[in-house]
Symmetry: C2
Subunit: 397 residues, 2 copies
């Protein structure tokens, strides 16, 4: 029979990255296309210890239904930790545990936007969030970025042109896919625009702790005096993405609506993972753990960059990351980016993600591609980057 789907989803496609990832089932393909944390970054032994103890001593806690807001002690820990970071204002904020950062962004959109309302975001941006917004049929507009984050003039022009802008979605730290970090001056300016034009900022910060170079920059949420910033983050890159444990700190009335929407979505997040996360975060030396993670990613990022510096055609430019998981490379204008990426995976067995996967508007052109250094082993980085470098010289020089 013929199925009729809702307008919201009828045009929705599975992530284009999945198309590229299909090639990566070929064991001969080296993939720089994923976005997974490094397996060696998982604190697997400590998780096993905590889990064993929990399931032995308190199995019902880990197995019974729980409340939508999240495991109480985990919420309390997160409120304290986020207060330290300036990302929880006890006067007006509340906090909910979500099923990963993805759910935080999806529910924020469901709660705040009607079909047709405008959501602005950086262009390019994270495809998972873009598709979440698309699944509510919002009017998605991308704003160009400079090296230090979203272009303020273009942002303000968009605000002047459209008086139905409800939300600005940003990944200020080590943005996916560009790896760019927004400067403090821009964070302040963006917050001021939010107050002036009366919109909500959705600040997505999955990689904030993974800074391995440069100085920490305060979150936009830390500037929030009026209660117009929703801050979301996740344990996916700090403990385990398989846990699906994230959280949102936001003004209490917004959290109230997110709770109601989460209740009808999955009742609550897996409670075993919440309890294990809580016990992990409160019993380890957090700074030592984060520092170990930063070390892993720094080494991988520097290794990958060294091959770009020494081996890539000079016609390719790239953004050197100070944290996060990705390197954004840009081809010269005359080069067909899609053909480049297809040839890389088909002929050279190297998978990278074509930049237009992260485009906001359909058919938007891109001459960039995204490299990921967190998932491959160092040996795969060495071998794969040598091949990719040779390919760039062959094609471009």
């Amino acid at each position: 029979m013929e199925y009729r789907f809702s307008n919201k989803v009828s045009g929705l496609q599975a992530s284009a990255i999945r198309e590229i990832l299909k090639y990566t089932v070929d064991p001969n393909v080296i993939s720089f296309a994923a976005g997974n944390p490094a397996p060696e970054a998982f604190p697997a032994r400590r998780i096993a210890e905590i889990s064993d103890e929990l399931l032995r001593d308190d199995p019902i806690l880990a197995l019974q239904y729980s409340i939508t807001e999240g495991y109480g002690p985990l919420r309390d820990f997160l409120k304290g930790w986020m207060t330290e970071k300036g990302c929880f204002h006890s006067e007006f904020d509340d906090l909910i545990v979500t099923s990963g950062g993805q759910q935080a962004n999806e529910l924020s959109c469901k709660v705040l936007l009607n079909e047709g309302d405008t959501l602005l975001c950086e262009s390019p941006s994270f495809i998972g969030s873009l598709n979440a917004f698309r699944s509510y049929n919002v009017n998605l507009k991308g704003i160009e970025m400079d090296d230090d984050g979203i272009n303020l003039e273009k942002l303000e022009a968009a605000l002047k042109e459209d008086n139905n802008v409800r939300v600005l979605y940003l990944i200020p730290n080590f943005q996916n896919p560009t790896g760019r970090t927004m400067s403090l001056a821009k964070r302040k300016a963006v917050y001021e625009l939010a107050c002036r034009y009366n919109f909500i900022i959705l600040e997505d910060d999955p990689y904030g702790e993974l800074r391995f170079a440069g100085e920490n920059i305060p979150a936009i949420k830390s500037l929030d005096t009026e209660g117009r910033v929703i801050y979301s983050s996740t344990f996916s890159k700090l403990i385990s993405p398989g846990f699906r444990t994230g959280f949102v700190s936001a003004p209490a009335p917004i959290i109230q609506k997110i709770i109601v929407c989460k209740q009808v979505s999955d009742v609550h997040s897996n409670i075993w993972a919440q309890v294990v996360s809580h016990r992990f975060m409160t019993t380890i030396d957090r700074e030592a753990h984060f520092s170990r993670l930063r070390g892993i990613y720094k080494e991988k990022a520097e290794l990958m960059c060294s091959y770009i510096n020494s081996g890539f055609s000079d016609k390719i430019t790239y953004i050197k990351p100070e944290g996060g998981l990705f390197i954004w490379c840009t081809l010269p204008d005359e080069c067909d980016m899609n053909a480049f990426c297809t040839r890389a995976v088909k002929d050279y067995k190297i998978a990278v993600v074509p930049g237009n996967s992260f485009s906001i508007a359909e058919n938007e052109k891109s001459s960039s591609f995204r490299l990921n250094y967190s998932t491959p082993t160092n040996d795969q980085i060495k071998k794969g980057m040598e091949i990719l470098a040779a390919m760039t010289r062959e094609i471009l020089d």
Copy 2:
């Protein structure tokens, strides 16, 4: 500041049951208001064994990102198991693992219905699903039930009256809240109406395995020749609700859209719970495990019923359950149900759920209340039912 929420959620309230559950934090209150599985039903030791082995031998499998469709071996097991039960048709169905049965129902709604489209359901029905449907602003219409399930004449009248009916939502086995089971004749008739009036049936079956009296009745999905039944179920009552592991068997084009919507909602369900569920279901004696669960609920149900039979005022009628978790009691017309429930919890410290919590239309009157026997201990059932029985006689006789 003033927040503006989307039309979808601005009228959405947290489950009314939560209001009653607030009283149950008082340790003196005996609660028959929840819907949790009995803690003694959890196979806690076996789960701990499987989990220990998994986290020791294959931690990355349990901790890394996984695919949206669900853990491959679990999907394969579920396809086989559902095929045995007639609930998976390999010619046209596909299957996805969801974050509990709740997500299965929510995503089915998101995928199939536009705002304003009509969804029919039994009246009364499960509040979690109703609120999920409400969160997409669909036109929700309840159809009265008979003892053997939805009233067919009223269903057909509603179909004739409204040519925008897209989905009929049903809980055919031990319905929540009424405990009623739909007869085979009605299941056939409902499926025939679906073909004739061209709508999709969303068959929610969280309790199907928990039949402790009477004969099994084939699922509506087993009658599905045209590909118009979405069948959802969950491990919440069979292994653990804290896992948040459910699944949907449905025509492949519908599953494709559900995959895309799940991807933007939570990427995938907690993978540790998926692997543990798979290993549990494939290594235990399933029939022996289900039989143990049925024994637990049979004992509790019979215990609760014995107090109704011997102690409740004769003016209260009730539906004797053949499975599931609930007993539906109805007060005489002259009695104010809300006052009864409030008095029960405030003066007698017994929490029950007022029937209008499950109403479809706002301000719909109900003279019923729901009792749950799965969550309280046998001692709590004895003590609480004695008090409640005395109260009914005092008020009504």
